[in-house]
Amino acid sequence: MTQQLKLGRVPAGGALLRRISADRPARPVYVALVLLVVLGWLVFALDGGTFLGQENIVGIQQRSAALGIVAVGQTLVILAGSLDLSVAYLISLTSLVTAEIMAGADANVPTAVAAALTVSALIGLANGLIVTRLRVHAFIATLGVALVVRGALDARYDGPAGSVPESFQHLGYDRIGPLPVSALLWAAVAACTWLLLSRTRLGYRIYAVGGDAEVARLSGVRTERVVVVAHVLCSVCAGIAGLLLASRLGAGAPTVGTDGGYDLESIAAVVLGGTALAGGRGGVAGTVGGVLLLAVLDSIFNQLEVNSFAKDVVRGVILVAALAIYARGRRTR
C-alpha cells in the first residue's frame, strides 16, 4: 500500500514552481509580485525615485482600484465557467447613469447609486439568462450584450455627461493615511467576494458549476441559477467600478470603460492570478495579486517612461509566460 501511494506521487525532484502552484493557484502570482516589487524598488532607486514612498504606493492603489473591482467580478463568472466581455461598456453606462442622476446634487446620491447598481444587475441578469436559457456561448452572449449597450450609449450620449457632487468625489480622491478610499472600496469588494466564494453555499456552487456543470446539476445544484447570479454579481462589480470612475471623473463618460480596456484587462488579471479560464479553480486572492502585479508593472513603466508600445509587448509576454508557468505546474500533479 505504501509503495503504491509513493508511486502515485510526483517525483521529489519536481520544480519549485510546480510545487507552489500545485494546490494553491494564487501563490505564484504573489511570488511574482514580490519579485516585481523588489525589481521596482531597484529601478526606482537607480532612477532616483522612491518606490515604497507614499506617493507611489497611493498611485498604485488608485490605479488598480477600478480594474481590481471589475476583475473581482470577472473572477466570479470565470470561476462559474462563463466569461463577461460586456463589463467595459457597462462601466461606461453606469458612470453615465450615476452622473446624470446625481446632476451635481448631494441629495441625489443615494438614488443614483441605487440606479447604477440596478442597471448593472439587470444587464448581468440579461447576460446570465442569455447564457443559461438561450444556451448561447458566453463569449458571444456577452459580446452581443456589449454591442447592445454600446448602441444605447452611442444613441444617447456624445461625450461626458452629468456631474457628480463634491461629496461624492470623496470616494475617488480621499484617502485615510496611505489608503485611498477607492482602494478600501476595492478591498471591501474583494473581501466580500472572498467570503462568498470560500464560505457560502453560493460560492461552493460557483466552483462546482465551473468545475463541471453536469456533475453539479446531477448533484442537485441548480446550475442555471448559479450562473445567472454569478453574472449579476459580476455586473454589479462593474457597476461599482462605474460609480468609482464617475466619482473620479466628476462626470459620466461613454468611453471610460472601453478606453480603460476593462474587458480584456480584467480577464487578463484574473488568469494572471491563477484562476483557470475554464472555471472551477482559482479565487479572488489570485485576482487581487494579478491586478496588483499589473499596477506595479505600470508604476515601473511610468518611472522608466516606457512608451506604450513597449508596454504592450511586455504585458503580452508576461501574460503568456505566466500562463505557461501555471500550465507547467499543473501538468504533473
Binding site: P160, Y173, A251, N302
Partner: protein, 383 residues
C-alpha cells in the same frame, strides 16, 4: 484632428447614414448640441485676424492675446518639466509628441522632463497628474484625454504647480495658459467654404465624419453645417467612418453608385481622405473638390492627381508651444491666458511648400519641426 477617438473594444464597424434629414433643409440634419454660437463667432473672427509674433515661427504666434502676469511663478533654473499626455495612439499625436521632445531638447535649462502616457484612459491620466504633482515638477503640461472628466484632476494640480493645458481644454480657468489652434469651427468652415466656392450650385455633397460625440470633431461638422445651410449645395449624406479607410472607401463607393455622381466631399479629418479619393478613381470618375488634412499621403495624392482640394489643419506645431510657454511662465514672462495659435490651411498655392517627399505618409506637414534637431529621421523621414 486633435485626437482620434481611442479604439473601442468591440469591433463591427459599419456605415450608417446619420442625421436623418428633414426634407426642407440642406440634408445636414440638426445642429450639434456642441455648437456654441459665441465660440463659433470668435473663431470666425480669428480666422481673419492677424497673429502677433514671429511669422516664421507660427508656434510662437498668438491671435488676440490677453496677457496674464506670471511673476508669481518665477524661479531660477534649471527646470524640471512634467507632461501628462493623453495618449500617443494615432499619427497626429505621434508627430506632436516627437516634436515636443525635440523642443525640450533645445532648451538647456530643462534638465529633467518627465512624461507619463495615459494610454487614452481618463482614470489613468487622473492618477498620472496626481503622481506628477508629487514629483517636484516646476511646471506641469497637460494634454487632456477628455475635457469634462479631467477637470477635477487639473483643478487639483493648479494650486501646487503652474499648469499649462493644450490641445483640449478643461472646464476650469485655473491653468496659467491654455494653448490651442483657432479651433474646430475654423477647420470645418474652411473646408465647407472651399466646397461652396468650388462646387456648382445644386451640387451633391457627401460629408464624412469619424465618430459622433467627440467635441473637437463635432465643432468641425457644426461649422460646416452652418456654411452648407447658407449655400445652394445639397448634402446627400452624412456618414460615420470610424476613421477606417476601408469603410470610408466603401461608403463613398456606395454613394457614387447610388447617386451616379458626387460633386464634393467634406471630411472632418484627413486620415481617410486618400481612401475617399481612391473610391472615385476606382469608379472611373473624376475626383470632385474635396478636403483633407495636412498629412503627406493626401498632399501627395493631391499633387499627383491634380485634385481640386484644400487641407485645413489642426497643426501639430502646437506641441512646441507648451514647452515654450512653460519656460516663459517660469521666467516670469507674460503669457496669453488663452494662447490661440494660427491655423493655416494648405491651398493649391502653397501646396508645394508643405509637400515633403521622404516623410512618412501619415506625417503631418504642419509639425513646425523642420528646424528641430534630428529632423527628418526622428520623424521617420529620410533626407
Amino acid at each position: 484632428t486633435s485626437d482620434k477617438p481611442a479604439p473601442s473594444a468591440s469591433g463591427a464597424p459599419a456605415g450608417a447614414p446619420a442625421g436623418s434629414a428633414a426634407p426642407a433643409d440642406k440634408g445636414t440634419g440638426e445642429q450639434s448640441k456642441f455648437f456654441v454660437q459665441a465660440d463659433y463667432d470668435a473663431q470666425m473672427a480669428m480666422r481673419k485676424a492677424q497673429p502677433t509674433g514671429p511669422s516664421d515661427k507660427p508656434w510662437e504666434q498668438t491671435i488676440d492675446p490677453q496677457l496674464v502676469d506670471t511673476a508669481d511663478y518665477k524661479k531660477a533654473g534649471p527646470y524640471h518639466l512634467c507632461f501628462s499626455n493623453a495618449a500617443v495612439d494615432n499619427p497626429w499625436r505621434q508627430v506632436g509628441w516627437k516634436t515636443m521632445q525635440a523642443e525640450v531638447a533645445l532648451h538647456k535649462e530643462i534638465t529633467k522632463f518627465t512624461a507619463l502616457d495615459a494610454e487614452g484612459k481618463d482614470d489613468k491620466q487622473i492618477s498620472d497628474i496626481a503622481e506628477l504633482t508629487g514629483k517636484g515638477c516646476d511646471a506641469l503640461i497637460v494634454s487632456p484625454n477628455t475635457t469634462a472628466t479631467l477637470t477635477p484632476a487639473v483643478s487639483g494640480a493648479c494650486p501646487k504647480v503652474p499648469v499649462i493645458v493644450f490641445d483640449r481644454g478643461v472646464q476650469t480657468d485655473c491653468p496659467v495658459t491654455f494653448i490651442k489652434p483657432i479651433g474646430g469651427y475654423a477647420f470645418g468652415a474652411a473646408a465647407a467654404e472651399f466646397l461652396v466656392d468650388k462646387v456648382p450650385a445644386g451640387g451633391k455633397i457627401l460629408a464624412l465624419r469619424i465618430l459622433p460625440g467627440v467635441d473637437v470633431l463635432e465643432t468641425r461638422w457644426s461649422a460646416a453645417k452652418v456654411a452648407f445651410d447658407k449655400s445652394d449645395l445639397q448634402v446627400v449624406g452624412v456618414e460615420f467612418t470610424d476613421g477606417d479607410a476601408a469603410k470610408t472607401k466603401s461608403v463613398v463607393s456606395d454613394y457614387i453608385q447610388r447617386y451616379g455622381k458626387i460633386d464634393g466631399v467634406w471630411m472632418d479629418a484627413g486620415a481617410t481622405a486618400v481612401a475617399a479619393v481612391e473610391a472615385f478613381e476606382d469608379a472611373g470618375q473624376p475626383v470632385p473638390p474635396i478636403n483633407g488634412e495636412d498629412q503627406q499621403d493626401f498632399l501627395k495624392k493631391w499633387s499627383d492627381a491634380k485634385l481640386t482640394a484644400i487641407a485645413p489643419t489642426y497643426p501639430t506645431y502646437q506641441w512646441r508651444t507648451p514647452v515654450i510657454a512653460a519656460l516663459k511662465v517660469l521666467k516670469g514672462e507674460q503669457v496669453p491666458k488663452v494662447w490661440n495659435l494660427p491655423q493655416p490651411a494648405i491651398t493649391q498655392e502653397n501646396l508645394a511648400t508643405y509637400l515633403k517627399p521622404g516623410m512618412p505618409p501619415l506625417h503631418y506637414a504642419l509639425c513646425g519641426c523642420e528646424d528641430l534637431p534630428g529632423y527628418p529621421e526622428k520623424w521617420g523621414g529620410t533626407s
